[in-house]
């Protein structure tokens, strides 16, 4: 047995930083490693935990992941495992024959995953029909030491030993023996892992050839060679099974029956993306509570819709993300909402299993980076189809709430009437039998108290409805702020970085006559940056002071202020030329913040529409026309697709989801305009042939 060395080339600090970012927790780490086994054509993976409980953890504790896949050669280890940059060179989407599996693992992630699990790893790997297995020894702790060094260190500075060891010819596969385990694994942790691993394979579409995962623990009885197998989904409040038939050319879809106020399964012709099987499980509040009670607060398991192709998970692209908000929402379900109480159904209320096949859905194409599907007509239609199903659930949800409210209202009103009737009856009784006055007195008082509390109940009900609307308003305006906040924080960080570098320069070099001109230049720039920062912060603070008070303001002055002052940093940052021409004075009695929201959202939209334009223009003009004050708002961006002129004002309608468009902007614009009793519409574009023009019109009462 001869020992040799293998090296890595990469900045240690960056490497670890990236590792921590990519592999946020241990579950992800194991998940990634198991996916690699799948890609290596394994049919069986064993995830073994040895002495990992809080009581037992010691230096001999181990996590062992072994598979019967095709193994790695020395060159594989050297050129793929050890080199940081090779994954992009993966030239094919499929694993070698005979399995030809669609790759699910992200190459280059394995080593980060191992790092997350423990400080030391031994890789034993063997290809079939070879006489030796390769054993590589990697000590992450050595890297850790390196990364503490103040100087830039590269992985070349650490050597990993390896050796070839004789092994039976027919043996194959890879075994990762991870030690120096830092974090303990309780049975609950392993249970959480099991639940995640279950998701790799569709419960409704068995894999062929098989891929079996087994969890083994020497400590927990529940995990003695336990095969990972998806459990059926229980405790949902609604459950649907949508199927298709290729010969008869139908696809099932959900439909809201308005007459009967219930969900029905309807048949439509097969969609352009091909037939799909979809199981949907909807959990209302009560169902979620029950689920949580039974599964010990594992509500993260209600996690939205996953797409499986030929039985294997594809989206959310076979990744486990521990932090909910970082989950990739490829279907755009949660982009449509930012709060549970807006009658929208989000990923936290549904479990969906969408099975597609290579054969029946050829137009749904994996993109090469395996982060998503190729954005084509078919995939867009598929996304729309899924959202359409959710919209039906939303109708159901809305109806449920309406029914509940009606019931409560009716009962309150009924109780109110009954109490009144009772009081009347008492009065009549007292009139007819004056001697009963003393006896009836406590009853009368009691009735009065009840009457008051019922009235209070009704008031409370009304108050809550108003509170609901108020909260909705807050959320709506917060959303419009989000984009702005991203811009602002980037601007602030950039400015601070600049100022810091200049200050640092002063600190290190001042005084130096040779550098006088530089010092002078820097001091001006520091001053200017500070003035800029001040402006940005003032504008941010202006939001803090806003409330829903109404006031009188001159639209002409206010528009000029907005376009020539407040928005200038945004225009400058985006290199947008702006024109504002308001001819007539017009006083509006309204909430100023609401009015500003209109333009803020229009501009935010324009920025996206202008992203590919060479010279960018935004124009805003206003004048009196008959009995209306009219504002035309135009840009020369990519414009609005024909036929979309109405749709764009719908909530959650977005054509720029990839740019973070939540489809809320124009909805806010429209609601705000309407709250000012105005109207807004898309009219013929001013900057033909490019661009879009909105006409906003406020009624004018002299």
């Amino acid at each position: 047995m001869s020992e040799k060395n293998l090296k890595w080339r990469f900045d240690v600090n960056t490497f670890r930083l990236i590792g921590r970012e990519l592999i946020t927790d241990r579950i992800t780490a194991v998940y990634e490693l198991v996916k690699n086994c799948y890609d290596a054509n394994a049919t069986k993976v064993i995830v073994e935990f040895i002495d990992v409980s809080p009581e037992a953890l010691n230096e001999k504790s181990k996590i062992i992941i072994s598979d019967d896949g095709h193994g790695m050669s020395y060159t594989d280890i050297r050129d793929k495992w050890m080199v940081v940059g090779t994954a992009s060179k993966r030239s094919t989407l499929f694993s070698p024959p005979p399995f030809e599996r669609r790759y699910v693992g992200e190459k280059g992630i394995g080593r980060f995953a191992v790092d997350k699990l423990g400080g030391h790893v031994v890789i034993e790997t063997k290809e079939v029909d070879t006489n030796q297995k390769l054993v590589v020894n990697i000590d992450w702790n050595a890297y850790d030491e390196l990364s503490k060094s103040p100087q830039l260190k590269l992985f070349t500075d650490v050597e990993n030993s390896y050796a070839f060891v004789d092994a039976p010819k027919e043996e194959k596969g890879t075994k990762l023996i991870i030690s120096s385990i830092e974090e303990t694994w309780t049975d609950l942790d392993i249970n959480r892992l099991e639940k995640e691993l279950e998701k790799i394979v569709s419960p409704f579409h068995p894999l062929n050839p098989p891929f079996q995962i087994v969890i083994n623990s020497n400590e927990y009885d529940a995990y003695k060679d336990k095969p990972v197998k998806a459990e059926s989904i229980k405790y949902s409040s609604l459950e649907f099974k949508l199927e298709y038939n290729v010969e008869k050319e139908w696809q099932e879809t959900l439909k809201w029956d308005k007459e009967k106020n219930k969900i029905i399964v309807d048949r439509v012709s097969i969609k352009p993306f091909g037939g799909i099987n979809l199981r949907l499980f909807y959990f209302d509040e009560a169902a979620k509570k029950k689920f949580n009670r039974i599964y010990k607060n594992q509500d993260y398991r209600i996690d939205g819709i996953k797409i499986y192709r030929d039985g294997l998970i594809t989206t959310p692209f076979a990744e486990f993300e521990g932090i909910r908000d970082k989950k990739r929402d490829v279907l755009g379900i949660d982009k449509r909402l930012w709060s549970g109480f807006l009658d929208k159904v989000g990923t936290r209320e549904i479990i969906g299993i969408l099975d597609i096949t290579k054969e029946n859905n050829p137009k749904i194409i994996d993109s090469t980076n395996r982060q998503d599907f190729v954005d084509n007509e078919a995939y867009r239609e598929l996304k729309e189809f899924v959202i359409a199903q959710l919209k039906v659930l939303e109708e159901f949800k809305k109806n449920e709430r309406k029914l509940l409210k009606q019931k409560v209202d009716q009962e309150l009103v009924k109780a109110n009437i009954e109490v009144k009737e009772f009081t009347e009856a008492l009065k009549t009784l007292e009139k007819n039998n004056p001697n009963l006055k003393q006896t009836l007195k406590p009853l009368k008082e009691q009735a009065k108290v009840i009457d008051i509390s019922i009235k209070k109940g009704i008031e409370q009900q009304e108050k809550e409805r108003k509170e609901y609307i108020r909260k909705e308003n807050i959320y709506v305006s917060l959303m419009s702020l989000q984009d702005y906040a991203i811009h602002v924080s980037h601007a602030v960080r950039t400015a601070l970085g600049k100022v810091k570098r200049m200050a640092e320069f002063f600190k290190d070099r001042f005084p130096d006559p040779k550098l006088d001109s530089i010092f002078k230049e820097y001091s001006h720039m520091i001053y200017n940056e500070m003035v800029n920062l001040n402006k940005v912060i003032d504008f941010m603070l202006s939001y803090a002071g806003s409330n829903i008070d109404m006031e009188d303001f001159n639209v002409k002055n206010h528009l000029e202020d907005l376009f020539n002052k407040a928005y200038v940093p945004v225009f400058d940052a985006e290199d947008i030329k702006h024109i504002v021409e308001v001819q007539d004075n017009f006083v509006l009695h309204a909430n100023k913040k609401f009015f500003e929201d209109i333009f803020e959202n229009l501009i935010s939209n324009s920025i996206k529409a202008l992203r590919n334009e060479e010279s960018k223009v935004i124009k805003c003009s206003g004048f009196i026309e008959d009995d209306h004050f009219v504002i035309y708002y135009s840009d020369n961006g990519e414009g609005i697709r024909k036929g979309d002129e109405e749709k764009i004002f719908e909530m959650y309608y977005t054509t720029t989801a990839d740019l973070g468009g939540a489809g809320i902007g124009l909805y806010i614009v429209k609601t705000r305009v309407e709250s000012l009793r105005g109207t807004i519409s898309v009219v013929e574009n001013e900057f033909k042939p490019r661009g879009a023009t909105f006409k906003i019109s406020f009624p004018f009462k002299k």
Binding site: T14, S88, R493
Partner: protein, 205 residues
């Protein structure tokens, strides 16, 4: 020999930024180039594929300009010999995972925040420069550079598949990682191993 160039692609730096000033002091006034537009930065790279180049690359590069992952990809389409360091105001956690994976896969040398101290940034660039300097292609280039201009312009070799190369042409081949360039690198390593082992043989004799 051709000096090392540092190309900074960053839309928020200005010509006299202290970082650029310090880099110029260290690497020479004309060897530090600032491009505020990534499209122009790419153009510079494409026109200087045969130069020794380190790129400091911002993440967000302003509206309409290709951002870091795209720029990176386009550099790597042409060469893997240029070292790229990501230098950005963007918080590490705000960089999408896909972009991070792309950075790793395309061998970004490092990622550094624009709020970092200047010496930290310069240190990273120096390390990259050192790495560049000790690489086979650079050693070869240094050797070629020792020849007179006249010698370098003379036809030096013709491959069995065709073209005639001068020593100067060979530098370009190596930098552009053509088949011949890679063959040259390989051959020099083979020679090195040959020499080391024959030395060992002599010692053994």
């Amino acid at each position: 020999m051709e000096p090392l160039k540092i190309l900074v692609i960053h839309d928020d730096l200005f010509e006299n930024d202290p970082l650029l000033y310090t880099l110029r002091e260290r690497f020479g006034r004309d060897n530090v180039i600032l491009e505020k537009k990534s499209s122009q930065g790419l153009e510079y790279i494409y026109n200087n594929l045969s130069s020794k180049l380190i790129v400091l690359l911002d993440f967000d590069l302003g509206a309409g300009e290709p951002h870091a992952p795209e720029v990176f990809k386009r550099i790597r389409e042409k060469t893997s010999l240029i070292y790229v360091i990501i230098y950005t105001a963007k918080q590490f956690t705000a960089i999408p995972n896909e972009a991070l994976i792309d950075f790793i896969n395309n061998e970004a040398l490092g990622i550094i925040q624009s709020t970092a101290d200047i010496p930290e940034v310069v240190g990273m660039v120096e390390k990259a420069a050192h790495q560049l300097d000790t690489r086979v292609d650079c050693i070869l280039e240094q050797w070629i550079a020792k020849h007179s201009e006249k010698e370098r312009a003379k036809p030096y070799l013709t491959t069995k598949s065709g073209t005639i190369y001068t020593l100067d042409d060979l530098i370009v081949e190596i930098r552009k990682e053509t088949e011949l360039g890679q063959q040259l690198e390989k051959s020099i390593l083979q020679l090195a191993i040959e020499l080391l082992t024959s030395q060992k043989r002599q010692l053994d004799d």
